[in-house]
């Protein structure tokens, strides 16, 4: 059986589907746990029973999200073993450690204290209960840490050596993997975006109560906590996003070029504030990439390289090379990659024949070229280019919505503080409709991160085509639809149960 384009497309589609659905549940947990912990802290400090009721209401919403989202991520691990077995074998030692720590430490910590938090109101002391709530928040964020350490390694592989005898990458520097700048910036950006989503969620639901003119005090108190938390998270997200873009520029310049639809590299490159890509534009032609665009001058140079005058390579420079800026072309990298693959093949043959001296020479040859090994599997230099339109529009949707949420938090906080929020019905409707937009922004972020780094399963080392298992594409297609039905069912259940709880209101507690 061969790796057909159909098999790879279905395997990717299935992984994307499960990851995107899984991510509908995660960010709310990441942020809502902290919002609840803050509310409960106010309750313990003030002894005000209203805050207890407020905390318990949001805790029930969290429990619904937690219960329905629970174990949806495990499906991705099933897929690693079945659809992505080459990848799983090759990265096993690197991926295994963070995921095992996540399972053993963070998830069990989160789950154990979740039980105390949810069921222990009258069974443990106030302080013990509050400690459990904070530990749930910390545990859920620690879970994300380990997953993002693993993901950061795929984006920027460090701290490992490829063992040509076992065909596995072996971790030789745990600190390099853990403190991988890509992983650190991705973790901070991801959790802060989760805080923003949870804040928008709490504000949106509270706005619905105000629109309905019920639970007024509860809604206003929730809004103040969520808007304050969301505002701080948004400001932090701005800085973590800046750091994330800087890391992308260093280790994944093609992704940065796709994020901005930048075909020809330039010094003092600007960021496209609003733009419409020309669908007819192709790599190598002289057409302008945009039918219409509004640019912020110098901003991309600053974002990517922290210098207003820096040269930002475009897709054309990265594919065809740029001597002036010492950028190697993809075809040269492909030559290097093919030398690595060929040397690995020779090493394997000589080892089998017991010719150890020749095997050692082949190994040295492999080491000299292994940096570009993945390029050896590409069929054309253009294969190194991700889907530009998907990456560009996802990135700009994410940034645009992130900016709107920052404005929303400022407005909600201001009008709640001066006690005029109920008069601003347009703002309450805007807050309510921002809930689905917050989820759109989350998913766009992951599309940028993952679709923007195609064709790589592991950056520069393993393209997705080589990472997939030789299984029948029809079986992947069947399970794709199976998951689509299962996840949609879970999502409907979540929304239905949540809506019932929201309609019942905090008084039901």
């Amino acid at each position: 059986m061969e790796h057909t384009a159909e098999l790879i497309d279905w395997s990717r589609a299935q992984f994307a589907l499960t990851a995107l659905y899984h991510w509908l549940f995660v960010p709310l947990t990441l942020g809502l746990t902290f919002i609840i912990a803050i509310m409960e802290t106010i309750y313990v400090k003030t002894g005000d029973a209203w805050w207890k009721k407020t905390t318990q209401f949001w805790m029930t919403i969290l429990a619904i999200n937690f219960a329905i989202g629970l174990a949806t991520g495990i499906i991705m691990e099933f897929e690693f073993g079945t659809n992505w077995s080459n990848y799983s074998w090759i990265v096993g030692d690197i991926f295994g450690a963070p995921l095992a720590i996540e399972g053993l430490m963070a998830f069990f910590m989160e789950s154990t204290f979740f039980a105390v938090m949810f069921f222990g109101w009258e069974k443990v002391s106030k302080k013990m209960h509050l400690t459990s709530t904070w530990l749930v928040a910390i545990g859920s964020n620690l879970s994300a840490l380990w997953i993002l350490v693993a993901n950061g390694w795929m984006q920027h592989p460090v701290g490992m050596t490829f063992n040509p005898d076992t065909a596995r990458n072996e971790m030789h520097d745990f600190a390099a993997v853990f403190f991988n700048p890509n992983a650190v910036s991705k973790f901070l950006h991801t959790i802060s975006s989760g805080y923003v989503l949870a804040s928008v969620f709490v504000i949106g639901i509270s706005a619905w109560y105000l629109i309905k003119r019920r639970e007024v005090m509860f809604a206003k108190r929730s809004m103040i906590v969520a808007a304050s938390f969301g505002l701080l998270a948004s400001l932090f997200m701005l800085t973590s996003g800046d750091q994330s873009a800087y890391e992308v520029a260093q280790s994944q310049p093609m992704k940065l070029a796709a994020m901005e639809g930048l075909y020809k590299g330039e010094e003092r490159a600007g960021i496209i504030a609003i733009g419409l890509l020309d669908r007819e534009k192709e790599l190598g032609d002289e057409k302008e990439p945009f039918l219409f665009s509004v640019e912020i001058p110098n901003a991309l140079s600053f974002l990517g390289y922290h210098s207003l005058n820096a040269f930002v390579p475009g897709i054309h420079d990265l594919v065809y090379g740029n001597e002036k800026h010492h950028i190697m072309s993809v075809s040269d990298k492909m030559k290097e990659g093919k030398l690595a693959v060929s040397a690995l093949s020779e090493y394997k043959t000589y080892k089998k024949e017991g010719k150890n001296t020749k095997a050692e020479e082949a190994l040295q040859n492999f080491r000299a070229h292994e940096k570009y090994m993945g390029y050896g599997y590409l069929k054309s230099p253009k294969d190194a280019v991700p889907n530009v339109a998907l990456t560009f529009y996802s990135f700009h949707t994410m940034v645009g919505l992130g900016t709107w949420f920052l404005i929303l938090f400022i407005l909600v906080l201001y009008f709640t503080m001066i006690n005029e929020i109920e008069k601003k019905r347009w703002l309450m409707y805007a807050a309510l409709w921002s809930i689905p937009l917050a989820y759109v922004a989350q998913e766009c972020g992951w599309i940028v991160a993952e679709a923007g780094r195609q064709p790589w399963a592991i950056q520069d080392l393993l393209p997705v085509g080589m990472a997939a298992s030789n299984v029948a594409s029809s079986s992947v297609m069947i399970t794709f639809w199976l998951f689509a039905v299962l996840f949609t069912g879970l999502l409907i259940a979540e929304v239905k149960i949540m809506l019932t709880q929201i309609k019942n209101g905090p008084e039901a507690h």
Binding site: T60, A63, I64, A67, I68, L70, A71, I74, I75, F78, E79, G81, T82, N83, S85, N86, S88, W89, I90, F118, P164, D165, T166, A167, R168, V341, L344, S345, K348, Y377, K379, G465, M466, S469, V471, S475, I478, T479, L482, L486, L490, A493, I497, Q501
Partner: protein
């Protein structure tokens, strides 16, 4: 607690579907079912990595 019972039931059904039906029927570990030892698995992956893809 009504909501609690509902959630526990949902968790039980979901875990049954995930681990008993989906994992068992649709997601066998490809390398574990095809090969008995790690050495065989390594050889297979090396073959995959080095065979000509032209």
């Amino acid at each position: 607690m009504k909501i609690g019972k509902k959630l526990w039931l949902l968790i039980a059904i979901k875990l049954f579907i995930l681990f008993v039906i989906i994992k068992w029927i649709f997601f066998p570990n490809f390398l574990k079912t095809k090969f008995d030892t790690d050495a065989q698995r390594s050889r297979y992956i090396l073959e995959q990595l080095t065979e000509s893809k032209e």
